[in-house]
């Protein structure tokens, strides 16, 4: 009992000492946050990590873009901020001394994927703000099958998978990227990469076929036959491939083969071979969400099948506008490699 009493007394003294140290030995880091073109960034989460203890402190920038990280124990701190669409900000070894304020103004830089107005971080954020997928049961056709029809937002990837590309495919992608992807089909108003969708797309479903329409691709639509026909016996290369679908319970399984040689496989500029086989498994889990599992098989470029998982939100009220890419494509003559 006596021993316990000593312990409690000792712990109390320790707390007093800790509090005294806290009051006398803290400093502050403060500053403002600005975007790559000098605009104020409100609501950003700024983080400071004590270099010796690893303790993390957080602050949120105000409507004026100001932030304050107060009550920091004296020491050295790493200050960082990460936002989608801009380069991560990090500064190391910010010295905090007792009773003083260290100023760290955060001027964010463009991300590696520079993009023009309308496709920039603010535009992406404006799109994300419009995501309000409705709740409700999966709609069904008169035949009782799930109806995938509707306008959908570009899917978010929930599992990117682990593609194992063959060295020859890696070399081609590297060359294309070193050339700034100046020769991408899309830059010449030809269809996008096989695995790319969006920013908006629409499904129109009937009993015998499904049509996918994209809002920024040319021609931007392809048909998926649901009438039981097989793939053509003679290879007939197509930019969107030849697509047939069948139902496995409530999952629509789409089988795509016969891809045109020029089309790129993905946004990382990988090629494909004439053995490319894409399987898309669509499941509309409720009114507002469409899950898709995409499996890419191509022994000509991949060591083994590559499976990725995505989810799209329904985009009620959004409209697919036409995208006549060749209308005014003046960029081609200005595209340069390295």
């Amino acid at each position: 009992m006596k021993r316990l009493g000593h312990s409690v007394w000792g712990f109390g003294l320790f707390l007093v000492a800790l509090t005294a140290f806290g009051q006398g030995g803290t400093g502050t880091i403060s500053g403002t946050v600005k975007d790559p073109v000098g605009g104020i960034v409100a609501g950003a989460s700024i983080q400071a990590t004590n270099a010796s203890t690893g303790t993390v402190y957080k602050s949120t920038s105000s409507k004026a873009g100001a932030y304050t990280l107060a009550d920091l124990s004296a020491g050295s701190y790493d200050v960082s901020l990460t936002l989608p669409g801009v380069a991560p900000f990090a500064v190391k070894n910010v010295a905090v001394t007792a009773g003083s304020t260290a100023r760290v103004d955060i001027n964010l830089k463009e991300g590696t994927q520079l993009s023009t107005l309308g496709e920039d971080p603010l535009a992406i954020a404006a799109d994300l703000k419009r995501h309000h997928p409705p709740s409700g049961p999966t709609p069904r056709t008169s035949e009782g099958k799930p109806d995938l029809s509707g306008v959908w937002w570009s899917p978010r990837t929930v599992d990117p998978g682990k593609p194992e590309f063959l060295a020859s495919a890696v070399a081609i992608a590297r060359k294309r990227n070193e050339d700034n992807r100046k020769d991408s089909p899309q830059a010449r108003c030809l269809p996008n990469a096989v695995t790319r969708i969006g920013p908006l797309y629409e499904f129109v479903q009937s009993k015998d076929y499904l049509v996918m329409i994209s809002d920024d691709d040319s021609p931007g639509f392809h048909q998926i036959y649901l009438d039981g026909r097989p793939h053509p016996k003679e290879p007939d290369p197509l930019w969107y491939g030849h697509s047939i679908g069948h139902w496995e319970g409530d999952t629509l399984v789409v089988d795509r083969v016969n891809f045109e040689e020029q089309v790129w496989l993905d946004q990382d500029a990988h090629p494909h071979s004439d053995k490319l086989h894409v399987t898309e498994r669509y499941r509309r889990v409720d009114l507002g969400h469409l899950e898709t599992e995409v499996t890419v098989e191509d022994p000509g470029v991949l060591a083994k099948p590559w499976t990725m998982k995505r989810v799209s939100d329904l985009a009620p009220g959004e409209e697919i506008r036409e995208f006549i890419c060749a209308e005014n494509n003046t960029d081609v003559e200005h595209l340069v490699g390295r």
């Binding site: 409507k63 992406i124 954020a125 992807r181 920024d216």
Partner: protein, 138 residues
């Protein structure tokens, strides 16, 4: 960029970060690096002479006067009308005769072509960034 607009941006950003596993939406009709030089940002001011509300990119032309009084017309590239219209901008958001200050990145090939990243009207309003519906521009 108005403050309300920014607050909107970041509230969304916070949600995005919360999800953690998010890939950026597919972007851009062509590679930025193939056409523009990210290391040479420049700012130009002048009078809008033409707006092209076309695909794959909306474009506007600005007559810029140099110190000697000579004028040069610059061609500024925006995103596609589809994306800009979804965010509330239109072919009437910018008109011939408007005074603008534009920050952007010039073409690598030396032509008078710039990727616009910030467009400011004479009254201080910034246009084509984010959504005008996020709040009154100022």
């Amino acid at each position: 960029m108005n403050k309300k607009n920014k607050a909107g941006f970041l509230s969304v950003a916070a949600i995005v970060l919360g999800l953690m596993v998010v890939t950026m939406p597919a972007l851009a009709h062509h590679s930025f690096a193939a056409e523009f030089d990210a290391t040479k940002p420049l700012t130009l001011a002048g009078i809008v002479t033409k707006l092209e509300w076309t695909n794959p990119h909306a474009r506007f032309h600005v007559s810029v006067k140099d110190e000697g009084g000579a004028t040069t017309t610059w061609d500024f590239e925006l995103g596609s009308p589809n994306g800009l219209m979804r965010h509330g901008w239109s072919r009437n958001s910018l008109k011939p005769g408007d005074m603008v200050t534009v920050m952007g990145y010039p073409a690598k090939d030396g032509s008078k072509l710039v990727n616009a990243r910030s467009v400011t009207l004479a009254d201080g309003r910034k246009i084509f960034a984010g959504s005008p519906d996020d709040g009154p521009t100022q």
